[in-house]
């Protein structure tokens, strides 16, 4: 599916102080893609995600949402652009002082004109979509890690975002929950027409759902390949990429 670019990363260099983590990143994420950011531990995958959602500032280069620069946008405009995205954090990052329903309801209350009853209804619906019907009044610490992730996903989807970001969605989940989450991600892409960006190193997920990907290399500190994950596994010209995608076996 050849869509237009939802996100374009242009000449991005990421650094912590003087320490350059990755340089010269250039790629674009097309609408409708399930785009995987992959690489070994510590290569800067999660940091790249933080750059894409504006939590870290580029050292050099810029990030465009559609045709518009996100990096150079004024703070108020940036806030508006952020409303089109949803993020599922690695730990769920639910607000622990609020119930699941309140977590989902907060963005709805802030950015829509819905009444209290309607908000409650929509929040319950979003929770039902991720399989948490009936858990509205639970507090995040009272439910399991897998449920927290799904609740985090319900919150990320609250405003029907165009782009959903996932930071290591299957980390800490058992294989079946991880599989269910993968299915849910595909379902969301197909039904909501959302673009999905995933940071992960779970090979099973990468092959099952990834339609495009970029590989960050920690040795050369830049991206060394991009493309459909299964093709990279079989035909990448870089040994490190093939090795990564075959669990070290060539």
């Amino acid at each position: 599916m050849e869509g237009r670019a939802a996100i374009t990363v242009r000449d991005l260099t990421m650094a912590y102080g003087d320490f350059v983590l990755q340089r010269d990143l250039n790629f674009s994420i097309r609408t409708g893609d399930i785009f995987v950011i992959m690489g070994g531990s510590g290569c800067g995958k999660s940091t790249l995600l933080r750059h894409l959602i504006g939590l870290n500032e580029p050292f050099e280069g810029e990030i465009l949402y559609g045709e518009e620069s996100f990096t150079r946008a004024a703070p108020a405009r940036r806030m508006e652009m952020l409303r089109r995205i949803g993020v599922l954090y690695q730990s769920g990052a639910l607000w622990s002082s609020m119930t699941l329903a309140e977590n989902v309801a907060l963005p709805l209350g802030e950015f829509t004109d819905l009444g209290a009853d309607e908000i409650r209804e929509v929040a319950a619906l979003k929770l039902a979509l991720v399989g948490l019907a009936g858990f509205e009044d639970y507090y995040p610490p009272d439910i399991s890690g897998g449920m927290q992730k799904r609740a985090g996903l319900a919150r990320a989807m609250a405003l029907d975002p165009d782009i959903l970001f996932f930071d290591e969605p299957s980390a800490g989940l058992d294989p079946i929950s991880a599989r269910l989450l993968d299915d849910l991600i595909i379902e969301l892409r197909d039904s909501l027409g959302a673009t999905i960006v995933i940071v992960t190193h779970e090979l099973a997920s990468i092959f099952a759902i990834g339609t495009n990907s970029v590989f960050l290399d920690s040795e050369s500190r830049t991206m060394i390949d991009m493309g459909v994950p299964t093709e990279l596994r079989d035909h990448s010209e870089h040994e490190r990429v093939r090795r990564f995608l075959r669990r070290g076996e060539l």
């Binding site: 409303r83 954090y89 690695q90 907060l106 963005p107 802030e110 919150r155």
Partner: protein
């Protein structure tokens, strides 16, 4: 040749023909007995012509990491002198561990070098760090001022139920500790005054002393310090751990300002509660003084309270409550500031809480000194 000393495991060296040095490992090796030195081996390698090191483990009993540590340093010595190591004589498990330990060469630059920068460099770094911290403090204060401006214009976004909960936690739930501490403070002041005033037979003036001291300064000061230890630390720990769990990131990416949503209700809650707690503390302090006056100094309760009412003017009360509100803002700001600046590990949340209390108390004492000077100059 003398054995390389160890309490139980032993390594003895013996030369064989063809430049081979045989290391004979015997006894049982355990970390509890210490790791034998490779000094003997080093001297042997330096003093004689050796091209190959072999091992004999015929007398080797039980072994653990201590023997592996001995072997890796032996192997490093051998590499430095381009001597081949022949691990064939080692037990299979040990050979594999040795291979594992040396499989991944040390990554260049991975080992952090102990900072032995020149003294001047370290001073420079300290100055830069302090400067950056100061800038981040100012940045926070500026943002807080803007947020308060939005709040006053009714455009700040936060949950009323959060504010109510914070009012309860930092106001109502602080009453027992405020009661205890201010009552005892009034009592202590009364004793100090009584000792001096008894010599003149003017014990009734204990009421003046306790009343004026509590209402003007001590009530607000001590309540402020209690709040720094209670709410300031709590705010820093709450915000710090929300940073660790990425809850603050989640707010920011939903374009909800953490300044409005988290910091503002905390500052407002303390700003509302501190004047009330100060008034309450003043009253408790006066009660503490009255307790001493009635039980030890033979004053009647009515007499004591009338004397207090005479001594304490309305301006004292207003001044004290004003000071209390300022301390409240200082404590809440210090707590939230240190919470927001917290790092992303559990130990840095602890540091943030500690730092919040220290910052809060220092700010209160400095403000108290400034007030004392200004109020004196204004003749209040």
């Amino acid at each position: 040749m003398p054995p390389v000393a160890s309490s139980n495991g032993e390594a003895t060296l013996a030369h064989e023909g063809g430049g081979t040095l045989v290391v004979r490992l015997s006894g049982s090796w355990s970390l509890a007995g210490g790791i034998p030195s490779t000094g003997e081996l080093e001297r042997e390698l330096a003093g004689t012509v050796v091209s190959r090191i072999a091992f004999d483990t015929g007398g080797l009993g039980e072994w653990d990491t201590s023997i592996l540590a001995f072997l890796t340093s032996a192997s490093r010595l051998a590499r430095e002198r381009h001597v081949t190591i022949d691990p064939a004589g080692l037990p299979q498990g040990l050979r594999r561990l040795l291979a594992l330990a040396e499989a991944v060469p040390e990554k260049d630059g991975a080992r952090s070098t102990v900072s032995d920068d020149p003294f001047i460099d370290r001073i420079g770094e300290l100055v830069i760090e302090t400067h950056q911290l100061f800038r981040s403090d100012l940045h926070f204060l500026g943002q807080l001022a803007l947020t308060l401006g939005r709040f006053l214009r009714g455009r700040a976004r936060f949950r009323g139920s959060d504010l109510a909960l914070l009012v309860q936690q930092s106001g109502f739930e602080a009453l027992p500790i405020v009661t205890l501490v201010t009552f005892l403070l009034g009592l202590i002041l009364a004793f100090v005054g009584a000792i001096q005033l008894q010599t003149f037979g003017a014990t009734i003036y204990v009421a003046d002393l306790v009343g004026v001291a509590m209402v003007r300064d001590m009530g607000a000061l001590i309540t402020g310090i209690i709040m720094a230890g209670r709410s300031g630390a709590a705010f820093a720990a709450q915000l710090g751990s929300m940073k660790v769990t990425q809850e603050i990131d989640a707010l920011e990416t939903m374009s909800i300002s953490s300044m409005e949503f988290l910091v503002l209700p905390r500052v407002v809650a303390l700003c509302l509660m501190m004047p009330l707690l100060t008034l309450y503390g003043d009253a408790m302090g006066i009660l503490g003084g009255a307790f001493v006056g009635v039980t030890m100094l033979d004053l009647s309760p009515v007499e004591y309270l009338l004397q207090t009412a005479d001594a304490v003017g309305f301006s004292h009360v207003v001044g004290g409550v004003f000071k209390g509100s300022v301390y409240g803002v200082l404590v809440a700001t210090a707590g939230c500031l240190r919470g927001v600046q917290s790092g992303k590990s559990s130990s840095s949340v602890g540091d943030a809480a500690t730092s919040a209390v220290v910052t809060g108390i220092v700010a209160i004492i400095v403000a108290c000194g400034v007030f004392a000077f200004v109020f004196y100059a204004l003749g209040l």
